[in-house]
Amino acid sequence: MSIRSRLIWIAMALVALLLASILTLLYVRTQGHESNYFEKVALLRQLKQLDARWELDVLKSRTGVETNYDFLVDPLVEFSQLQSELGRLLPYRLNGTSSDALVTAIRDFHRAIENKTQLIEHFKSHNSVLHNSLAFLPTAAADAQDAITHVPGANGALKRLSADVGAILLVSMEFSQAPADDKAAEIGAGLDRLSRMNGTMPVPVQQAADIFASHVRTVLREQPVVDTLLSEIAAVPTGVSIDVLDNDLRGEQLATESQAQVYRRYLLLFAAALVTLFLYAALSLIRSRAVINRINRVALATSQKRLEIATQGMHIGIWESDLVTGDVWCNDECYRMIGREPDATLKTMDAWMALVHPDDKPNFERIVAAQKGNSGEDFRIHYRLRCKDGSYRWVMSQACAMDRSSDGVATRISGVRFDITELKEMEHQLASAQRLESIGQLAAGVAHEINTPIQYVNDSIYFIREAVQELLAYVQQAPGRAGAAPNSELTYLQDNLPPALDRAIEGLGRVSEIVTSMKEFSHPDQREMAPIDLNRAIQSTLIVARNEYKYVATVTLELVEVPPVMCFGSQINQVVLNLIVNAAHAIADRVKGTEATGVITLKTYREGNDVVLSVADTGSGIPESIRDRIFEPFFTTKEVGRGTGQGLTMVRNCVVKAHRGTVHFQTATGLGTTFFVRLPIESVARVSTELAA
């Protein structure tokens, strides 16, 4: 990985981390910190309720409904529990971003409770005293009045005293219901009157009056205190503090909630943005993938097309072989090369091996084995493959290793395969052409060398024939010979010598003729086209080929006068020779084992600007099945040694390629075959180096 791409990865990871962090942050922010808000609110409600109950219990004590002060003590325990609970719920606010108002409210609340506790403590003390005195006051008054009535002969002052006590009692009771200054003054005045009589009353009355007076004073003292305490208790702003706390909490909760709302909105927006981003990224990915695919497809198609054109146009087979499994892949051209439809049926090495020519198999197997053995030997081999119709094509395979195992042994090879049949054919033709040329040169040389002795042998024979005739005539008329009985020996000589000499002369003529034909047939010196008399070419070829046909066929010549044809003489001679030999072979096949002979008919005639040469035989014709293939190189029906399968191929190549002529044939099974060679009279000069060479 390059540094650049690594940096990109790191950057992308950082961005992803950042996005995730933002997401987490927003998520956390949207989660209410105030999850215990309701707990706190419930706690405040509880506090408020407790406070209200406390106040209610105070009133109960005040009115005497409740005389058990435990009720005013118990809330203290509950308060301290609830307050510590409040402290537990609120501490983070107190040291965090807590509003001062909240802190103040909590402190105020604590203070208010303390204050209220103190007031209630005082209230309890004063209230119990007040209650006792108030409750006792009527009894005390009655006790005093009783004492007065028990005084024998109570005077007017005592009776007034009794009335005063009653009046003070009444006003005191009124005062206890509604304390007012005027009533207090009235009670004070009454008490003063009572005290003025101190010392004038009998002891029991004095005692009772003192007790009464002290309790009235107690009421007078305690009642305002209790009332004041009650209003002070009611005025302690515990409820207010709780409300402030409550409001503050609610405000904070609302703020938090709205903040959370804001964050939720942010979260939503962020999430939407993220989704959009992801969608965009996904779309881009899909789009760029599509573009890449399209480009790839086009590029691949183009490349495939090029390869296809190249391989098809050049007839290049491409193949791959897995040496481990033996699987083979190859392109269509590999199939077409051997006349098959590309049906992908040849998938294994063995299937292909079965098509290799038996003679080439050992070499082929050796090469494949060499690849497996990692000998370093190139995979480059010429071999024959059997076509669908049974014929063989020469191919060349060249390959190299694609994959190698860890120890360097090729496990997979890939290669190309060319059809080199024509190349092989040319090689053969070249070889035979060279052979023919040297034979021609040799023949010309031999003919030349033979020509001179033949000349003087011929002259000598003619002289001998003349001399023999003169000698025989002389012997007949010679002395000693006249009248003599005819000598039988002499007669025999006279009869047979002249014809023998005549035959010698004739034979010499034949030799001379053959030598000349050979010289003409071989045209050893001809490198360029020259006007050739086709009829003469035919005649000299017939002489050369005589041995091929003389036992099976007679030759009929139907030659008409035709203009000379521009051509390579030796090649045309070869064409004619091949046709005559084929005709002779066809007839020989037909008449084999019989005494019969066939007829080879050679014709020449002119057609327009062409001269046509036809060679007809009376063989058995070409079977329908092979008519299309007779011109194919190396195609032959003859046994090994009799034909190479190149004769007609050479004929066609020579006529069509070198001379721009045509070759065709007519055949009828059982009747024979006629080949027509049509050559333009004014052939376009075309140097075919490979053939002319």
Partner: protein, 320 residues
């Protein structure tokens, strides 16, 4: 407005009282003690040992139990107790029994909890005269304490845990099932006819105004000498006589004391903060004179004392 509401409420409650005056006999201003007080047993056990452990005092002479003898009604029977170095304490030792049910601790209520009370006594220069660091060292050096504290408290022996253990133990010192409590629970034969009459007098004379609730007192402050000047008549004023004033420095709190619980009162003579009343009869006399400002007959006082005797409960069995 507020005042109007208040009056309305008062009226409503007056009506309610009139209608509800025929409440059952058990609806009394005095409530029976709870029959059990569940506490952490291992802490109670530690507390019990500490309660009797003199190592809490500076010189190892006195323990809590020295002044709060459970066998003597949770007090020591002395007018004033003897501190670690032989000095007399400022006031009469109040009973530890049912102290957990008092709304505050000490005569002047200066401790809001039993823990605070322990703290004050341990450090009091007359009573135990200790420093907490020394106490903690002494206690934690005891392997038994070391082990039991570690088992009961996460942080082992500490000042707070010592206080907690003792207070926890004290919360078990409740004396339920007194005859009067049984009477309150519905056993009408649990107390005698005289005691019943005494209870009636107790209420009629207004003793009940301060001595009510579950602890028969112990839930409010009251001025000693509401209806007369007790201290002037007694003479020899002391600092301790100032009562709650020493705590609040509020003039109205002068001579104000916590109303003591009358539970087990028959066992805890002498009486009052100064231990001036040697018997219950004397104490009742003082109360009538200075608190109620009333005159009662000898018979009435006798039955009241008899009633007070019915308030003696049973301490849960203590392990040896």
């Amino acid at each position: 407005m507020k005042r109007g509401c208040l009056k309305l409420l008062l009226l409503a409650f007056s009506l309610f009282t009139a209608a509800g005056s025929s409440a059952g006999p058990l609806m009394e201003p005095i409530k029976p003690l709870p029959l059990d007080s569940a506490q952490n047993p291992s802490r109670v056990s530690i507390g019990r040992h500490l309660f009797q452990d003199a190592r809490l005092s500076a010189n190892g002479r006195v323990s809590c139990a020295s002044c709060h003898d459970l066998a003597k009604g949770g007090a020591d029977g002395r007018v004033r107790s003897v501190g670690f170095n032989g000095q007399l304490t400022a006031m009469n030792a109040p009973s530890v029994l049912n102290a957990a049910l008092n709304f505050r601790q000490f005569w002047n209520g200066r401790a809001a909890s039993l823990e605070e009370q322990v703290d004050a006594v341990v450090q009091n220069p007359t009573e135990m005269g200790s420093k907490w660091t020394e106490v903690v060292t002494r206690i934690s050096s005891d392997p038994v304490y070391h082990r039991t504290f570690a088992a009961s408290y996460a942080d082992g022996v500490t000042r707070a845990n010592i206080e907690s253990a003792i207070a926890t133990f004290e919360r078990t010192l409740i004396t339920p099932n007194s005859p009067f409590d049984r009477y309150l629970r519905g056993d009408t034969n649990a107390i005698s006819a005289e005691q019943k009459a005494g209870y009636l007098k107790f209420k009629q004379y207004g003793c009940i105004a301060c001595h009510q609730g579950v602890n028969v007192g112990g839930n409010m402050f009251q001025k000693f000498g509401v209806m007369g000047d007790y201290f002037a008549n007694r003479g020899k004023p002391t600092d301790a006589d100032l009562g709650r004033y020493l705590v609040t420095r509020d003039e109205t709190d002068r001579h104000v004391f916590k109303v003591p619980s009358l539970r087990n009162v028959a066992l805890t003579a002498p009486y009052f903060h100064d231990g001036s009343a040697a018997t219950l009869g004397e104490a009742v006399d003082v109360m009538f004179k200075y608190q109620l400002g009333r005159f009662a007959s000898a018979e009435d006082k006798t039955v009241i004392v008899k009633f007070l005797n019915s308030l003696t409960g049973q301490l849960p069995p203590q392990p040896p």
